[in-house]
Symmetry: C2
Subunit: 203 residues, 2 copies
DNA sequence: CTACATCTATACCAATCGGTACACATCCCG
DNA sequence: CGGGATGTGTACCGATTGGTATAGATGTAG
């Protein structure tokens, strides 16, 4: 058996930066959706020709998944920051306002790729559609657990149904993504987020 | 110049019902989105071959628009019913609960075609994307005007920003569409709707 | 019946889709 | 200088895309 520290640099080196290429692919999928982005769009925008793209990332579907991973990874710090707040309500407020910002970043596509990447699709894109649905469900589940933690710690009233509350705020954040994709401003979204918080259950 | 009451029945009659074909097309676009629905999907599902479809409805884009018109027309009665309620708050409540039902009809695709028909897209579908955005904006505008009416009539506090409130509830309804497309139940959506109403501005 | 208008069916179009074969270029190792 | 491993570029693949030409089928009008 050969050593696992395989030769790092053998053969002709890559002519492009893998991470930057992934970022560009992410932006394309984000702005046009999975089905709306063609291989020609990708090769043109990444400045890479087709065989290089396939050698580096596999097929279109696996390229999307790799780009999506980067996207989700960046959002994890937002969730972590938010959930570190002392109360569930503060966590939700931080999360929603943070999402309002993330969905209206100046030089990035507007909205959220987990919503607009493949909300519905034809049969070919069904696996991607399912993957995105699973990511959204994971976010909702994480939020629910944070609210349940608040309930255990006493800052959320005992009578509250945490699953319902998590679903409500998740729904608001997904609606914000639709609004962002349609051109709503960051301030618009932040107002929506703050209004939604008025529904927080009173003590 | 020939009389405008053109011969109604001359030549070989149609072998299919136009309205039923439009309904089937609507369901396809609704479930798979504009880009995710191919001409082959359509001809197969409608039981019509290609030239007949083009003769009756024009190209794919105009077929989508005709199907969309039927969809929107059906929702107009919901909006009318809701807006006839005596107060703005009752109107919004009726509207949101009605949308929860409309997005989870038993034998229909889940969600809302104005959201999932083409939330984002490639360049070809940009006109459809814009059309759907315009329809969503029209719904938000109508809701805003109903809330403003409530403000004039005194059932909405004078300090309330009606545009903000309309945007908030529109955002909730669009988030509900995302949830519905992902498989949320009617009861789930109704609970979300009722929770969102807790944010209604107190008198 | 014939003449005409309309719809249907088959078969096709150029363009694009996602994906790949293959020759060549460029690196490290010896 | 090879030799082997890897990446790049061109040119291509079969399948599918949206859309149409054309011939035949089926109706009304005279």
């Amino acid at each position: 058996m050969k050593p696992k520290t395989a030769a790092a640099q053998v053969g002709r080196p890559r002519g492009f930066d893998v991470d930057e290429a992934l970022d560009r692919a992410l932006r394309l999928f984000w702005r046009q959706g999975y089905e709306g982005t063609s291989l020609s769009d990708l090769t043109e925008q990444l400045g890479i020709n087709r065989p290089s793209l396939y050698a580096a990332f596999g097929n279109k579907e696996s390229l999307f998944r790799k780009a999506l991973d980067r996207y989700v990874e960046r959002h994890l710090v937002l969730y972590r920051d938010a959930f570190d707040r002392p109360t569930a309500r503060a966590a939700v407020e931080h999360l929603l306002l943070g999402l309002a910002d993330a969905q209206t970043l100046p030089r990035e596509p507007k909205g959220c790729i987990t919503v607009q990447g493949a909300l519905v699709s034809g049969a070919d894109a069904a696996p991607i559609q399912g993957e995105l649905a699973a990511r959204r469900a994971a976010g909702e589940q994480a939020l629910r657990e944070r609210i349940e933690q608040g309930q255990r710690e006493g800052d959320v009233p005992a009578h509250v149904d945490c699953a319902d509350l998590a679903r409500y705020f998740t729904t608001v954040s997904q609606g914000m993504a639709v609004q962002a994709a349609t051109g709503a401003s960051r301030e618009d979204l932040r107002r929506v987020a703050r209004t939604s918080l008025l529904a927080w259950p009173p003590a």
